[in-house]
Amino acid sequence: MNRPLVEVHNLSKHFVIYRSWSGRPLKTVQAVDDVSFFIMPGETLGLVGETGCGKSTVGRTLVGLYEPTAGAALLEGRDIHATLRSKEQSDFRRRLQIIFQDPYASLDPRMTVGDIVGEPLDIHQLVAPSQRRERIQELLLQVGLDPEHAARYPHEFSGGQRQRVGIARALAAQPDFIVCDEPISALDVSIQAQIINLMQDLQQSIGLTYLFIAHDLSMVRHLSHRIAVMYLGSLVELADSAALFSEPQHPYSQALLSAIPLPDPKVEATRERIFMPGEVPSPINPPSGCRFRTRCSHAMPICAENTPQLLDDGTGHHTACHLVHPAT
């Protein structure tokens, strides 16, 4: 079996939002708590969950925008954050890229599109100055933009075109791994499909590995090989896309999947939804044991005492729930 490209071991990221006068943390948001997974080369792992569940924090930590509080993230077996602190950081930065959610806010309005796409080339000295222009045009063409537009500014482009610029910028660095942080949620339906097709084509032609973060579950299913479901900073389930959608095991995944409206009126007419009572608890003071227990209709006494571990059922379907994997 191949080696995973990206491994995440017991990753936690806590943000201190309030300190005492001596600097002792008084209030901490446990944005990500003890998350582990891996991504194989050429694979797309979908990461889904509601607003505030920590999915973007995981993505940002993986590309080194955040330092983890505990645990580690590895790229080809080497610790990402330790390497980024050392001298070799430049090459590691190049290999890890991110596409941001908002195509309006993530491009510098005062730089031309050519310079935006060319910046990674300059920083990592990927091309000779004489070939810079040519390479930029090649990249723009690769993402379906007119190479003649390199001299234009971001405001002259539509949302879908800007997102293509963001993708071209990420590709410029010739990365191995791209974190896609809700790259399509700001776009119209017909444009979303264009971007998704582009991402799939690029994956096939240059063998990219993606972590695809989104809350549009049907798109995640379409694009991902495996999907991880997060709730309040923890992974609750991780399985093959098809398995997760056909047989979700964790009560939260079941409720989440039942809430997606499907574009088929015949199916919708007979579909039952699973409602979760209440609201997501605060990550400042999450419930003990299983974090989902306060909203779970199957909650048992053990759920408050023991934190369920993410366990494999033998087929690669991982679930963190005492119902599925009774503690012995």
Binding site: S190, A193, L256
Partner: protein
């Protein structure tokens, strides 16, 4: 068929900008039956929200201008009302839920102040009576502990709660027509499911006619009975929801349906609609969808009319003309082989 609750004829709305006049609506016609749930779908900028705003009488003018058209509601043309008459209807018989629950509530007024306003304004209730009614409303939309909530400010509530407050506010005077402008776009799917369920229940229990503006075809499939598809300021297709999903008659509707992943097409490539919508500063003279259409032909250089078809359907495409090429119609019917 029931008598129409609202009939809109030939609605044209323009916006004057520095770049020129944007023809946001270019002849919109439709009617709504009482108690119906109708979805309006289309891309950003196609005129969904402008249609609702024009009927509600809340198009900012200037720069907006209703150039022509009528909107008949309870024997009156809504577009010809004075501001005073319009105010009397708005929030009373006509109501609207806005897209963004984070910005459409006033942050410096309590929920109670904002929620009792329609009662005081339209029904001349006293503050204490209004408070009671407001608490009842909150219960109706699924917020327990209404009395406490009324004293709170919008920032103390979550997004889903705020959207419920918005819905409660729009329902205060038991409107006969309610526009919901992307009521769930800013919310998580789990909260969205609760809000949609609430809207469905209100339609059933209070017989409110609901116009749901959205770009999520899943939401349309789960809630609406009839769908209007808009493109570049016009309605391009109108059909009962089952017919639209089973057999779209306009290439744009087909394109929308094929660009979302469907469980029965797993693993297949999405069929995106290439290109982007036309610039409404200078709308093209022929069919507006022509540059993006897979079925384009010579006739499309002339703008097609909205054809009235069987089963209460309408479509603005030359393929629905009886003389259109047979193989192109077959291609559309089987899902457009490229």
């Amino acid at each position: 068929m029931q008598p129409a609750l609202l009939t809109v004829n030939n609605l044209h709305v323009h916006f004057r900008t520095y770049a020129g006049t944007v023809q946001a609506l270019r002849g919109v016609d439709f009617s709504l039956a009482a108690g119906e749930i109708v979805g309006i779908v289309g891309e950003s900028g196609c005129g969904k929200t402008v249609t609702a705003s024009a009927i509600m009488g809340i198009i900012p003018s200037p720069p907006g201008q209703i150039v022509s058209g009528e909107a008949w509601f309870a024997g009156r043309d809504l577009l010809k009302l004075s501001e005073k008459e319009s105010r009397r209807l708005r929030g009373n018989k006509l109501s609207m839920i806005f897209q963004d629950p984070m910005t459409s509530l006033n942050p410096v007024l309590t929920i109670g102040t904002q929620l009792t306003e329609p009662f005081i304004e339209h029904q001349s209730l006293s503050q204490s009576e209004a408070n009671e009614r407001a608490a009842e409303l909150l219960k109706l939309v699924g917020i327990a502990d209404g009395a406490t909530r009324l004293k709170q400010y919008p920032h103390q509530l979550s997004g889903g709660m705020r959207q419920r407050v918005m819905i409660a506010m729009s329902l205060a005077c038991n409107p006969s027509l309610l526009f919901a402008d992307e009521p769930t776009t800013a919310l998580d799917v789990t909260v969205q499911a609760q809000i949609l369920d609430l809207l469905k229940r209100l339609n059933r229990e209070l017989n409110t006619t609901l116009v749901l503006i959205t770009h999520d075809l899943g939401v349309v499939a789960s809630l609406c009975q009839r769908v209007l598809v808009m493109y570049a300021g016009q309605i391009v297709e109108s059909a009962p929801v089952h017919n639209l999903f089973a057999e779209p008659l306009h290439p744009y509707s087909l394109g929308l349906l094929q660009s979302v992943p469907r469980p029965d097409f797993q693993g297949k490539r999405l069929l995106a609609i290439d290109g982007h919508p036309p610039d409404l500063l200078i709308p093209p003279s022929g069919c507006t969808f022509l540059p993006r259409c897979r079925f384009a032909m010579q006739a499309c250089l002339e703008a097609p009319p909205l054809f009235d078809l069987a089963e209460n359907r309408q479509s603005r495409c030359w393929l629905n003309h009886p003389d259109s090429p047979h193989d192109a119609r077959v291609a559309l019917a089987i899902g457009g082989v490229r």
